[in-house]
């Protein structure tokens, strides 16, 4: 009786498996880049213009990184909606 139940369970499980394989899509290459470290001002710098250039570079880096995060969030939301639309 025990074996019969096991066989029946196995039959039910195997017969209920739908042979459709799905995988969550890969992240676009551009969104896999890591955020770079902020630049530091070289020692001994006394000119404000040189410091401002470093600061500008860091601001730019921040904007780039922020956009990457926003893009990632948008990508995940879209892909999740698409993935879950298949029922």
């Amino acid at each position: 009786m025990k074996y019969l139940l096991m066989i029946l369970t196995a039959l039910i499980i195997t017969s209920c498996t739908v042979p459709v394989n799905r995988s969550f899509p890969d992240l676009p290459k551009s969104l896999t880049q890591e955020c770079l470290d902020l630049q530091i001002v070289p020692k001994g710098t006394i000119k404000l213009s040189e410091i401002l250039i470093v600061v500008t570079t860091n601001y730019s880096q921040y904007h780039q990184c922020r956009f990457e995060v926003e893009s990632f969030q948008q990508w995940h939301k879209q892909q999740k909606e698409i993935f879950e639309s298949v029922k």
Binding site: L11, T14, S15, V18, P19, V20, R22, P25, P28, K29, S30, L31, D37, L38, Q39, I40, V41, K43, G44, T45, I46, K47, L48, S49, I51, L52, I53, V55, T56, T57, N58, Y59, S60, H63, Q64, F67, E68, S71, Q74, W75, Q78, Q79, I82, F83, S85, V86, K87
Partner: protein, 153 residues
């Protein structure tokens, strides 16, 4: 289970219909044998055998018919799901391409802005530096902020 699926797929549908029809006719004939006096002498010795075979055919035919129908329903579901998956994969690729395109465009704007600002600073460097000289401590404080390290005295 795979064997049954294979068997049902391999066997034409009419075989199952035929099993049910033959089974039903066999049962009817065997139960109402007395109403058919002309053939009774020929088949009456096999009455029980005919009944058993007919019932078996009817049961198996009905079971396979059900299995076949169920199998077809599942196959249709799988096909539908595969179509949906193909559509979703296409949508997903399109969404990826769009994000990639927007990304490249936006990064270009950010880089252009940086270049423009840097050029402006370089252009006015003399004016900026004339007004202000930066002490070493200020640079250290700024760097500690950039590297996320506490350096307050």
């Amino acid at each position: 289970m795979w064997f049954l699926t294979w068997l049902v797929n391999w066997t034409p549908d009419f075989v199952f219909h035929l099993m049910i029809i033959i089974g039903a006719i066999g049962i009817l004939v065997s139960f109402f044998m007395n109403l058919l006096p002309s053939i009774v002498p020929l088949i009456s010795p096999y009455k029980t055998l005919i009944q058993i075979i007919s019932i078996a055919l009817l049961l198996c035919g009905t079971w396979f018919e059900g299995f076949n129908t169920n199998n077809k329903v599942w196959e249709a579901k799988v096909k539908d799901l595969q179509e949906q998956v193909a559509i979703s994969e296409k949508k997903s690729t399109e969404a990826n391409d769009k994000i990639e395109y927007v990304y490249v465009d936006r990064i270009k704007v950010i880089k252009d802005t940086q270049t423009q600002t840097t050029n402006n600073i370089k252009k006015d460097a003399n004016e900026i530096d004339k007004q202000c000289n930066v002490i070493t401590e200020a640079v250290d404080i700024l760097n500690s902020s950039a590297t996320n390290q506490k350096s307050f005295k």
